[in-house]
Amino acid sequence: MIEVDNLTKAYGDRLAVNGIRFSVNRGEVIGFLGPNGAGKSTTLRMLTGYLTPTDGSIRVGGIDAISNPIEARRFIGYMPESVPLYGEMRVDEYLRYRASLKGVRRSQLKARVDASLQLANITDVRYRIIGQLSKGYRSRVGLADALVADPPLLVLDEPTAGLDPNQIRQVRDLIRGMAGQKTVLLSTHILPEVESTCGRVLIIHKGRLVGEGAPSTLRVAQEGRQALVVEARGARDAVDTLLKNTRGVRGILDTVVTEQQGAAPLLRYRLEVDSSEVAEAVFAAVAAAGLSLRELHREQTSLEDVFASLTTADAAAQHAEPAPATTAPADSDPKPGASV
């Protein structure tokens, strides 16, 4: 459905998008993931023809979108970020206008508007003036606009921004429901959104594609780096040595003294381990040494860790298959896991 090669957008010397290449098959739901300012919106704007690329090629539905932009745009239902709308129009009028602009026949106009209102779940505000609607409703008007001409490809730039949790779930359900019938390309910086809706993820950072794959495989790619959180009481040197010498422990990632209490402070370690089974060995070692153990759990690699390791430091220079960064960022909280 989409084939993008060497897509580049330069603003003066700054490359907002730098040689991106990817393709999307019919019926796929793809998440475009990246921190703010990574180049997501710029890429989507080039795909939808709002911006002309500096370099590279775009094919939408087999049509060259650069030499034949109008034909290519017929395939696309686009919902821009921040959803600009004409505040003075009523929802119904706006959707009729958009449908007729997109070439929906007069005879089908009403049916298409009805269907898109229903899909976006905004039939109740049909005759309201857009300027008076809440942000949640406005963004769903944008979604209805994207759907109104029944295009095979939906490009949604942060479709759940500004929605409340219930509306977010509705939109996700709607997107999931379209998988197979429509191709969906959505951008977001919210990870659970990708994990819950997308079959494949493209991670973009500083204008480059730094990771690609199913949410689950991306997580697996990081599984080599397992961490174990241990909180034990004892003299620091003794505990350090004990843990380092436990079989399967590769090293200590960091140590925090959580409770200073004479000779036996409470220490919290993050250990890099070979596998999650090492937890048992750690427990046995600590118990054998007669130390008390307050907590022991595996730190689960979430997509957030993948994302963080791909989009921090020099990861931008790497491509596709990510090599795990050596340390996780300091702000990554330990994930709740099996505590002993």
Binding site: G49, P80, M89, R98, S100
Partner: protein
Amino acid sequence: MNAVWTIAKREVFSFFVSPIAYVVMTVWLLFFGIVFYILALVFAQQAGGGGEANLLTAFFGGTTLFYLPLLVFAPVMTMRLLAEERSSGTIEPLLTAPVSEVSVVLGKYLAALTFWTVLWTPTLSYVWLVARAGKNTVDWGAIGATYLGLFSVGVFYMAVGLFMSAVARNQIVAAMLTFLVLGGLFVIGLAGYANVGDDLRAVFEYLGLWTQMASFSKGIVDTRYLVYDASIAAAALFLSVRALASGRGS
């Protein structure tokens, strides 16, 4: 072509639900009403008959004062056309719909010409008043030529305003630029009063449109003006299309 119509329809709708339309129309009617009243008073006080037809001629083309309010109204009417779309972001859904820049520009232009026509329509009541109250019959040929001339001025002014709205980042800048160009051309007309010789004066007056309505209101359809107005409009529309297209690069 369908897209042109759709865009024009929405634009006209949007103009007439905005307060700006009613402010412009009220001030417009008030202003021209007062001008007409004063002119009628002057003509009524003048001795000698046969002034009724001249009243309309004087109103539409007798003085260059006729243009001054237009220099203000035209920028206000056209400033929002594209500049507002750009500042509110609605240009993005518009330009990602399967329509060409040409359709967008023509749709907006058609809408602007519609405002222009709507604003002049009430002045037909002046013609009706003169026809009813006057002793002589109105020269309907001259009236036809007058309105053709008015429309032609609109073709010119609305296209320049649209172009400025396409290049300016916001409405105020668009209005100022339009005023600058239309006002500038108007001032060039003034240069005709300097001692520059007859030929050059004709050129200046022609460029500034000073004599356009004077000629049309007498019933003289001077095709040079029609060609001039239409060619400026075509150039401005072409540049508007280019401005929209080059906006995609940034």
